[in-house]
């Protein structure tokens, strides 16, 4: 094979636009290029600036939590009738962002989409860190977060057990399973790369740490065989899991009888919204990242196009969800349901609703145009608009449904307090703190999977 001229890497008719990977790369250059970001290359100044800002914002979160634990959740703007407010909408927003990571790493693996290879590690990390933020909200929303372990079924001296008929219990199991399985999937994917770093590292502490994490991985053919099987099975398990998680999150709403929540469209509409928001976040993060670290050979325009298309498709599904929601309200013949829809469009929160339509339905339509998909700056701006739009969507669902329920005497308004905002900004800081540490200390692209899609990886017999 070494004597023959190398064939250009082809992969079917889809491949006419842009390659999945720079055809000039080799086993050695892929390994060295990705490995050197962690081991050799000088940390860019931008990393330090970004890390310091994120870490400062993270302190804001710690401050908020400390204050919250001392004072109680009265610190936040939540009260009756809007008792869920920003805590739950941020929970849904964060966990939705996480879903794109699992979609990329598991579902696209099963669908044999090779382009997923260069973004899956990063997207999985994003999943883990987003789920970590999401998990904090319900726990601190409990009011007495130090008793959060009461949610788990364990034999206790009080002689009581959790109520498994409640969607809130389903949530506990769904989110904790999701976090655990995502972490395992991520770690298993990292084992061969830890071995690569162990063998490349020059300094003793790095050799020891990566060596321990690699657990003695040596690339044995027998190991690889079982490894591939385990990875495939994990992908097969994670695929229904990711769908179930956001379905269960939507059950938190749909199982309740509040007008505007009690709708069968919620599970698919929530899952599509989650993937939509998640891909927006992946685009938002990868566009600057590939530029700063010079990873254009790994994350090519093909990836940008594909992610933009997934965003467009899921955006359309979300738009369909909004339409069906409005239709349900009208078709139900129920005056409360009709009122909720009317109130969303014309009530005190109408500006949120119409901004949401602008962000989530109108903006992604530009992605039909190839020129827009080619322009990274525009794509990046659209991803920000969509992220804001998805946040507004959860705001509209949570707040407008709660603030006007069946009896006008129990109506009220919701205004997030400054501590709601510090908590939200703080979790964004925590998310980016973790992300910056990940970029610095772990290979952000799966090295061994990149080797498999190189032209020289093909065995000729």
């Amino acid at each position: 094979m070494a004597d023959e001229p190398q064939k250009p890497y082809t992969e079917g008719p889809m491949h006419t636009t842009a390659p999945v990977i720079d055809p000039g790369l080799t086993f050695a250059s892929v390994t060295d290029k990705i490995g050197s970001i962690v081991l050799k290359r000088k940390t860019p100044l931008g990393w330090f600036i970004g890390f310091v800002i994120s870490f400062a914002l993270f302190q804001l979160m710690l401050l908020t939590i400390t204050n919250l634990v001392f004072v109680g959740i009265g610190l936040w703007g939540v009260n009756i009738p809007v008792a869920w407010g920003m805590d739950i909408l941020n929970f849904v927003w964060w966990i939705g962002i996480g879903h794109a990571g699992t979609l990329i790493s598991a579902i696209l693996l099963l669908l044999r989409q090779t382009w997923r290879t260069s973004i899956n590690r990063f997207a999985e990390a994003m999943t883990l860190f987003a789920v970590a933020q999401a998990g904090m909200y319900p726990i601190f929303h409990l009011g007495r977060p130090w008793l959060a372990y009461w949610l788990f079924p364990y034999p206790n001296t009080m002689g009581i057990w959790p109520q498994f008929r409640s969607p809130l219990m389903w949530d506990v199991f769904a989110v904790s399973t999701y976090a655990t399985v995502s972490a395992m999937f991520w770690f298993v994917g990292l084992i061969p790369d830890f071995a690569t770093l162990r063998d490349r590292a020059r300094s003793k502490p790095f050799q020891i740490v990566y060596g321990m994490l690699a657990m003695g991985w040596r690339g044995s053919a027998r190991h690889w065989h079982r490894y591939e099987m385990a990875y495939l099975l994990l992908a097969g398990l994670a695929t229904p899991l990711v769908l179930s998680v956001h379905t269960i999150v939507s059950f938190d709403f749909a199982v309740g009888i509040i007008p505007g929540w009690h709708a069968t469209i919620f599970p698919p509409y929530f899952v599509a919204g989650a993937i939509y928001a998640g891909f927006a976040m992946v685009l938002f993060l990868t566009i600057p990242l590939r530029k700063v670290y010079g990873l254009e050979g790994f994350i090519t325009m093909r990836h940008m196009h594909n992610m933009a298309k997934v965003m467009l498709a899921t955006g359309l599904i979300v738009g369909y969800g909004y339409m069906v929601e409005a239709f349900f309200g009208w078709y139900s013949g129920n005056k409360y349901e009709r009122y909720v829809i009317w109130n969303r469009m014309h009530g005190p929160y109408a500006s949120y609703y119409w901004t949401l339509i602008l962000c989530n339905i109108i903006t992604p339509q530009f992605l039909w145009i190839k020129k827009v998909r080619d322009n990274l700056l525009v794509l990046w701006l659209i991803s920000i608009v969509v992220s804001i739009g998805m946040w507004l969507e959860r705001f509209v669902i949570v707040v407008t449904s709660l603030h006007r329920d069946f009896l006008p005497s129990s109506w009220g308004m919701y205004q997030p307090s400054q501590w709601d905002w510090t908590m939200f900004i703080g979790t964004i800081g925590f998310f980016f703190t973790l992300l910056f540490l990940f970029i610095r200390f772990l290979p952000m692209i799966s090295i061994f999977e990149m080797r498999t899609i190189l032209p020289e990886a093909e065995v000729e017999e």
Partner: protein
């Protein structure tokens, strides 16, 4: 990681194929020389490795193994390793998780702590399905990860192949084939001759 070991080996001098260290003849002198783990051949590309593995397997050797920087389907086939019981382990994990999850809820809500919620039956099984599903996935995923590590005997900090020269490149761009000394057909000179005939860029002894 294996740097020190390699240095030690190099100080011993070049390997002497005319006077091989055969495991049987050597038991009395173990404190002088380490025992032989096998013979390792190094290849520059995956095609040569797979071809060599096939040859070695066809020549009747069974305790052979390949090492590569990424998974090569043809390689595990070539060394005759095509079966793994991992799917069975994962399936059992899933069944245990599913049944365990459901009957945990059943036992709590029906037997140990029955509470009437809006007149619903104690065994309101549709409401138990989400948690049953999550438990199925959780235990199956643990079975997949721990099962894979267990079958692979990982973590295993030390292994003789780490002593081989250039083996650090097995996680970069080099490919290796080992014939282990405990192969029933193993005979040192014959193995070395065979591997040398197979486009290997280097053939060396690997000591325990």
């Amino acid at each position: 990681m294996a740097e020190d070991e390699n240095d030690k080996l190099r100080r011993v001098g070049p390997l002497d194929y005319n006077h091989p260290v055969s495991p049987s003849a050597h038991s009395h002198a173990r404190h002088h020389h380490p025992t032989l783990y096998g013979v390792m051949a190094e290849f520059a590309n995956p095609s040569d490795l797979v071809a060599a593995a096939r040859h070695t397997y066809q020549a009747g050797y069974r305790r052979i193994n390949g090492y590569s920087p990424y998974p090569i389907e043809e390689l595990s086939e070539a060394i005759g390793f095509t079966h793994t019981s991992l799917p069975l382990i994962v399936f059992i994990g899933g069944v245990v998780g599913g049944l365990g999850g459901f009957f945990m809820q059943y036992w709590i809500e029906v037997i140990n702590y029955p509470i009437n919620v809006g007149g619903k039956p104690y065994n309101s099984w549709p409401a138990f399905i989400p948690i049953t599903f999550e438990c199925t996935v959780l235990v199956a995923a643990f079975a997949a990860v721990l099962g894979m590590l267990m079958l692979n005997k990982l973590p295993q900090p030390y292994h003789p192949v780490f002593n081989a020269p250039d083996f650090a490149l097995a996680t970069r761009d080099r490919f290796f084939l080992v014939v282990e000394a405990n192969d029933p057909k193993y005979e040192h000179d014959a193995v070395v001759a065979l591997l040398k005939s197979l486009d290997a860029s280097e053939v060396s002894d690997v000591e325990n």
